[in-house]
């Protein structure tokens, strides 16, 4: 590439546009970072450049102030991470089982089933919460662990979409795995279950990682269902807990909220780093496979 084209493509205004766009994009996140370290904990006292820095906001999340309210941040954090990991795992498992059936078996109602699963996702789920609430309430009378204010109940409700939400994505990937591989395994005497575990799933690691990642991050961010099913503050997930900081007193808890928001990002980032390796290795594998 000649110097002249290089110069033209690198024109100063392009960089200017970029920096304007970036400053708009990062302003809110940056503001959260500074608010978290700002010694003035209120919204009115917050500014982009804090007058003095402090770690008090973070400390306040973990240590109960003398005479202050009980601090539940660690419980919320633990609950969110546990439920997100479990949801990711079971979503991948259940989704892969279903996608395998729809990809590899031919059975009556298969086409209709797939269309149906597509269609029910377009139903606005918000009002379903009433019925879900009633179902969870009644189930709790029989199996307490699946009742209201229980994280296990929340997990089970989250898992209700495991089959439908990712079916088309996973099935598409499974379809791209050559049927000859199944065929040769079957000739060698493998059962469908063995083909599923031994042939399809190992080759599908990229799509499993992506689906698991979506489910993991999605759970960490889920708000409305949790707000309907979880009742007491000690059982909250992170989103509910953080919202409770500013829900009642927007002005005063701004610093704690900002600090909590920063810490709340950690699981998703770790999850992404952890899975990224598999996504990349999985993708290169796919290309070598030929």
């Amino acid at each position: 590439m000649s110097d002249s084209t290089n110069h033209r493509n690198d024109h100063w205004w392009r960089h200017l546009v970029m920096w304007v766009a970036i400053s708009i994009a990062v302003l809110p996140p940056l503001y959260v970072v500074t608010a978290a370290f700002n010694s003035d904990q209120t919204l009115s006292g917050s500014s982009l450049i804090p007058r003095s820095l402090t770690l008090e906001n973070f400390k306040g999340l973990f240590v109960q102030k003398e005479g202050g309210a009980e601090v539940f941040f660690v419980r919320w954090f633990r609950a969110s991470v546990i439920i997100a990991v479990l949801n990711a795992f079971f979503t991948v498992f259940i989704g892969a089982l279903s996608a395998y059936a729809f990809s590899r078996f031919r059975f009556r109602g298969r086409r209709m089933g797939m269309l149906f699963l597509l269609l029910i996702q377009m139903f606005p789920g918000l009002l379903n919460l009433v019925a879900i609430y009633l179902i969870v309430l009644r189930t709790g009378e029989v199996i307490p662990a699946l009742g209201l204010n229980k994280l296990t109940a929340l997990l089970v409700v989250y898992l209700s979409g495991a089959m439908s939400v990712n079916l088309w994505l996973m099935k598409g990937f499974f379809d791209s795995i050559p049927a000859e591989l199944d065929e040769s395994a079957r000739v060698d005497g493998a059962t469908p279950a063995q083909i599923f575990w031994g042939v399809i799933l190992p080759l599908a690691v990229p799509v499993l990682s992506v689906v698991g990642m979506f489910a993991f991050v999605g759970t960490l961010n889920e708000f409305i269902t949790a707000s309907v099913l979880l009742e007491t503050v000690d059982n909250f997930t992170l989103p509910l807990g953080l919202q409770s900081y500013i829900g009642t007193n927007f002005e005063e808890n701004w610093g704690s909220f900002a600090a909590g928001v920063l810490i709340a990002q950690i699981p998703a980032i770790i999850g992404f780093i952890f899975v990224q390796k598999y996504i990349i290795s999985g993708l290169t594998q796919g290309s070598v496979k030929g």
Partner: protein, 525 residues
């Protein structure tokens, strides 16, 4: 090097394949045992709660599942689909049917009970004072239970009133002392002084049920009167008859008892009313106006969000998408930051940023727009914040799509003498739209139901001049939510469900057009 030698499964892949042998079978059996354990316990509980039908149904389902999994080499698709299906049916399909069923009912504030419950509630709540008054002395019997010793003021007949009912006793066993206080019969100790004041609250709540459906309540510490039900249910005419006036309130077929001159009892019940919830969106002006306003705003909001985000994303992609552009990767990763942050957190942060008194944005601006408190500023806020959240997605999409456009086509247009703008209009954009249109439609459908962006930022407010449930920034789904869950003017769950069904058809139609364009359905081989 052969291909086989190059193939190195990742650790995760190798771990997964361990389950293909005995391990997987053991896991399967273990899961089946856990399922049987939990469900078996649930069945026992159901039986002890006398919910026999539920118990038998659960046994049938569990038996079927066990059968399918334990018979080898048969029902193969079912073996793979059951785990997802059970959860799907219980927590997704049943709720959807529940919602659709509700759309055909009058189910709103004042119409939440079943008819039988509504009849009972009306009879219990509307008590009128009867014509009997009693002298009363609280006493305790031998076992310490609280008993009211009662003397009817008019007839002089004496009674023992317990929580279980009223018992007539011989008048001679009860005497009245010089102060007019009733002395209890032998075996009962009258409560006096501090003892009496200590059970003040208990006494006030004490009710002696009567055979006619009324009760005897205490009044003060030494009196009692009877209350009789204000209504009597007449099964033959299916109406409630007022005890005092004799006016009949008939079942009006819409979940209420109404009198001949149109008076309606407050407590009604859920009743099927056909398509009325659906048609009221068109016929009832009180419903139609907020619905139409929310509908138009939903389209305006979703449309402008998608178009602006796409336009800005495409512009930034065109700016950055040059070979040898320095800092390309850095710019891109910084521009994607809004996409990486959980949406609901960003929205809460923006709510603080846009606060018109303390918010950072008004501190930076030379003037103070009432971002969230004026209808049009609030609408602008919702759109701008949504664009902020959505643009990174379209930046990524456009950067990918631009690279898929063959450079030869652009070169050819250039050679033919087309200017930059012409090339963009006539070559790049049409080719780009082929790829991006399904995504634009999908994004529109997503924003059409983007509850969070509206609800967390403005709560649907500010309210409009007509004080309808739908505020200035309420889109259909947040309007529906408010109707169902938090309207201060009375919840209308039936109407909310009907609107949900409308939304379903709108979104399904949009998604269908997107799917047809992307030809995804052809993959259903």
């Amino acid at each position: 090097m052969t291909q086989a030698a190059q193939y190195r499964p990742s650790l995760l892949a190798r771990v997964i394949s361990l389950f293909s042998g005995v391990g997987g079978l053991l896991v399967k059996l273990l899961l089946l045992c856990v399922l049987n354990g939990i469900t078996g316990w649930a069945i026992i509980v159901l039986f002890t709660q006398d919910r026999i039908a539920w118990a038998l149904g659960t046994i049938a389902v569990l038996g079927l599942i066990d059968f399918i999994y334990l018979v080898p080499n048969r029902f193969l698709p079912a073996k793979f689909i059951i785990p997802g299906s059970v959860l799907l049916i219980a927590y997704l399909i049943v709720p959807i049917f529940f919602t659709i069923n509700t759309a055909f009912q009058e189910y709103s504030t004042g119409h939440v009970l079943t008819k039988a419950e509504a009849i009972d509630t009306n009879i219990e709540q509307n008590v009128v004072q009867g014509d009997r008054f009693f002298q009363m002395t609280p006493a305790r019997d031998a076992s310490g239970e609280l008993v009211l010793v009662l003397v009817d003021d008019t007839s002089g007949q004496t009674y023992l009133g317990r929580q279980s009912g009223l018992e007539e006793i011989d008048s001679t066993t009860v005497s009245v002392d010089d102060f007019g206080d009733v002395l209890p019969p032998a075996g009962f100790t009258a409560l006096v002084g501090d003892e009496l004041f200590a059970i003040d609250a208990e006494l006030a709540a004490f009710e002696v049920p009567l055979d006619n459906g009324g009760v005897i309540r205490t009044e003060g510490l030494s009196g009692a009167y009877d209350s009789v039900p204000g209504f009597e249910y007449d099964a033959s005419s299916d109406s409630l008859i007022a005890a005092d006036s004799g006016v009949a309130y008939r079942d009006n077929g819409r979940g209420s008892f109404t009198s001949a001159d149109g008076e309606e009892l407050v407590v009604g019940w859920r009743e099927y009313i056909g398509f009325e919830n659906f048609t009221s969106v068109i016929t009832n002006p009180l419903v139609r106006q907020p619905f139409l306003r929310a509908f138009v705003w939903t389209i305006g909001f979703a449309g402008s969000t998608v178009l602006l985000s796409f336009a800005i994303g495409l512009f930034l992609a065109k700016v950055i998408d040059k070979p040898n552009f320095r800092g390309k990767k850095l710019y891109r990763s910084m521009l994607v930051i809004p996409y990486a942050i959980p949406g609901f957190l960003s929205l809460l942060v923006f709510k603080g940023l846009l606060n018109d008194d303390y918010g950072l944005i008004n501190k930076l601006l030379p003037f103070d727009p009432p971002w969230l408190f004026d209808p049009w500023w609030a609408r602008l806020s919702v759109i701008l914040v949504s664009v902020w959240l959505t643009t990174p997605y379209f930046l990524l999409v456009c950067m990918g799509a631009l690279q898929s456009i063959p450079a030869e086509l652009v070169e050819a247009a250039r050679v033919d003498g087309a200017g930059r703008w012409q090339v963009f209009r006539k070559v790049t954009l049409p080719l780009l739209l082929v790829v991006v249109t399904p995504l634009l439609i999908a994004s529109f459908a997503y924003n059409f139901n983007n509850f969070n962006n509206v609800y967390l930022l403005t709560g649907g407010g500010p309210s409009t001049d007509d004080q309808a449930v739908a505020g200035a920034t309420d889109i259909l789904i947040s309007y529906t939510y408010k109707l169902a869950f938090e309207s201060g003017k009375g919840q209308d769950y039936g109407l909310a469900s009907a609107i949900s069904v409308y939304i379903f058809f709108i979104v399904a139609a949009m998604s269908a057009s997107g799917f047809l364009r992307s030809k995804a359905l052809e993959n259903m081989k």
